[in-house]
């Protein structure tokens, strides 16, 4: 029990867990974090840094960039569309509201069916698209179709869960009219629940499309086509001027999808309803247009599928359950799982502290008096914002490859990459949080200097918001930790990559299960922590 003089309880448990996990990961993976990594790092990085100011602007490079950008858009669009369609079908099965007849006692087998579909969605969601790409790769080889299918599998899980939650939250009174016509459960769902939830469902799908654009631009690194494949290749060949050109296209694509998504989000509350049946036509023509860049790749993927050695697959399929669960296996699994976990928490911590330091160093809540201090403050704000924009516009996997040039792809480069990308994201969210504090609330706490005001006035106001952002970012970084692992940074992702490449199905299954358990556990723990905090601070 706390006494008035004792210190308030800190979230020390989380800190200890992170420290222990980090130590385990470093010790277990032979670190790869030592100073040896830094030997010659500058010499390796110099040509890349020099090339950043001189992109290859030849017609060949530009044509390649454009073609790959179009291919990336096609991968993202088809991946999202297929995932949304499959997610929609599964969501109908994962909704208790649809499964049970209102006013009647719920049937046990229907309840069990809903829970089973939810479990499938959790599994699809928890394994990152990069991991799915490795699996699809085995069947149809490398190419944009692999990327689209991998994204589709992941999106199925993500959107399926959101759709089912939206369908479950439909008020009963909104669907009663359909119930009363004597319709089947499925008809009630399609005529009642779906129209009632259609608005938010569309918004989430568009948001997911924007995320898919980012993912599609890097999934090529593991054989999913698009800009990522070329970027990986050119970096390997050391053609850094081409790398810069491709980075410019990548930045253009992410900036454009960001803008389009913002425009749609702004327009959606008062969105004029589309004319009669215009929506299916719009979606149909969009898909048809984006199908063109994928046409020949689909043929290749199909040929690859036909060439598949099914006898071998059948013979080895039994291996999936033939892994021994001895202590050594489990220890190795725990050690592998600790790497993405510690990477995620370390990177999130450093990024959060850097962003917070940025707020303290360049105050946002006041404008300094005097022309010169004001000019300095404005330029510092612009510079910080530009750095954050660049940091978040380049995906963490690309940061990993860029840092990998100097530090070699490994845990250190992974931590650096995720830290930089998270800094970009958190920095913007932190600045937005400061802007939401009404000036009048800070008036009684004015202490004189802007930085003291920040520490005693602004920081306590925005602390709960920041904590939520950091917690969500840590969750998202766990997924990033798994992905950079697949690309070669070590840990569970790396182990899964090796298992799939060498077709050790038993180990691969176990590692995929570990990914699912890890993601779900972190998700639940974070939610519990944030619930506990919100109860403590109503």
């Amino acid at each position: 029990m706390s006494t008035p003089t004792s210190r308030p309880r800190l979230p020390w448990v989380t800190g200890v867990v992170v420290l222990v996990a980090t130590a385990l990961a470093w010790l277990g993976s032979g670190a790869g974090l030592g100073p040896a990594r830094l030997d010659g790092a500058w010499a390796r990085a110099r040509p890349l840094i020099a090339a950043l100011s001189s992109p290859d602007l030849s017609t060949e490079a530009l044509t390649q960039g454009l073609e790959l950008t179009i291919q990336t858009v096609a991968v993202a669009t088809w991946g999202t569309a297929l995932g949304a369609a499959a997610g929609f079908v599964l969501a109908l099965g994962a909704s208790h509201r649809i499964a049970h007849v209102p006013g009647r006692p719920p049937r046990r087998w229907r309840h069990a069916r809903v829970e089973l579909v939810r479990l499938i969605l959790d599994g699809l969601r928890a394994v990152p698209d990069f991991a799915w790409a490795l699996v699809v790769l085995v069947f149809i080889g490398a190419g944009p179709v692999t990327g689209a299918l991998a994204i589709a599998i992941s999106v199925t899980g993500l959107l399926g869960k959101i759709y089912s939650q939206l369908l479950d939250s439909t008020p009963l009174r909104r669907t009663r009219a359909v119930e009363l016509t004597g319709s089947s459960r499925l008809t009630v769902a399609l005529w009642g629940h779906v129209p009632a939830a259609a608005g938010p469902m569309l918004s989430y799908t568009l948001l997911r499309l924007e995320c898919s654009m980012r993912n599609a631009s890097v999934i090529g690194i593991v054989g999913g086509g698009g800009l990522g494949a070329a970027l990986f290749e050119e970096l390997g060949f050391g053609r850094y001027d081409r790398v810069t050109t491709l980075l410019l296209f990548l930045l253009g694509l992410t900036a454009l999808s960001d803008l389009v998504s913002k425009h749609i989000a702004k327009a959606s509350p008062t969105r004029p309803r589309p004319q009669r049946f215009r929506m299916p036509m719009l979606i149909g023509s969009g898909l048809l247009l984006t199908a063109l860049p994928l046409a020949s790749a689909t043929q290749t993927a199909w040929d690859e599928l036909l060439r598949l050695d099914t006898a071998f697959l059948r013979a080895t399929a039994g291996n999936a359950s033939s892994v021994s669960l001895d202590l050594a296996t489990l220890t190795a699994l725990a050690r592998d799982a600790a790497v993405p976990l510690s990477t995620a928490y370390l990177a999130t911590g450093i990024a959060a502290l850097t962003s917070l330091f940025g707020l303290w160093l360049v105050p946002r809540h006041v404008s300094p008096r005097g022309a010169l201090p004001r000019a300095l403050n404005t330029s510092a704000r612009v510079a910080t914002d530009a750095a954050a924009l660049l940091a978040r516009a380049i995906p963490d996997v690309v940061w990993l490859l860029l840092f990998g040039v100097a530090l070699h792809v490994g845990p250190l480069a992974a931590i650096a990459a995720i830290t930089v990308h998270s800094f970009g994201l958190l920095s913007r969210l932190f600045v937005e949080a400061v802007h939401t504090v009404p000036a009048a609330r800070l008036e009684p706490r004015r202490l004189g200097t802007p930085r003291a005001d920040f520490v005693w006035g602004v920081a306590p106001e925005i602390a709960p918001t920041l904590r939520t952002h950091v917690s969500l970012q840590a969750e998202s970084n766990l997924r990033a930790g798994l992905i950079v692992g697949i690309v070669g940074a070590g840990g569970l992702g790396d182990a899964f990559h090796s298992s799939v490449t060498y077709w050790r199905l038993g180990e691969a299954t176990l590692q995929a299960l570990a990914m699912i358990v890890l993601t779900i556990a972190v998700d639940r723990l974070a939610r519990r922590w944030s619930d506990a905090r919100s109860c403590a601070r109503p």
Partner: protein, 247 residues
Amino acid sequence: MSACSLDAVSVSFAEGRGLHDVRLEIPRGQVVALIGASGSGKTTLLRVLAGLQEPTRGEVEVLGDDPMASSGAARRRLRRDVGLMMQRDNLVEGLRVFHNVIMGRLGHWSTVRSLLARVWPRRAEIALAHDALQRVELGSRLWDWPTQLSGGEQQRVALARLVVQAPKLWLADEPAAGLDPRLRRELLTMLIALVREHDATLVVTLHDVELLDEHFDRIVGLRAGQVTFDSSPAEVDDARLAEIYAA
């Protein structure tokens, strides 16, 4: 033959309101008004007939079936033959007026046909919905959204849905509540005319006694969950009304 009957039906709620030992038989083709003050049990009685409320005691029969006992296909068949119009929330906001009207046919269609009608309706279906809307003087609003309609218009769309559904038993729970007096009268006249035209049975709950007229075959008065009188409109005088509305 009776359209519906209640034999010693009681419904108990924790808060006390409900039905107590209600006996009622309504022959096919009759137009019946249930009247009573708020909380007298009108809506509960209607919900029992619609199969939305299970009685605590007693027997209910609707079109020859027990609305609560039947399950699956049988319940859907019964719902197809019993149309219910509520005080509000009759329309699905995410669907156009057309879909809200043609929805009346869902009980008659297979799931595949329902899906097709939702995405790409046939000309005949569009014509059917349009005709029904013309009956309620809203022919020009086929492709509007429910949010673009006034309260009275929304109720008329719900009426058009019942026209399309063509049930044998029409149930309406204070369909004109919240409308101005002229519109209330208009809507009720429209409802009764359509029921007569379809040779169906109507049970309508009313709060407003001003609307009682010779168009009804029977008036049933309820007070505190019990039937206090069951007579023709001519026999309903001020004394009878005082019986159910007196404090």
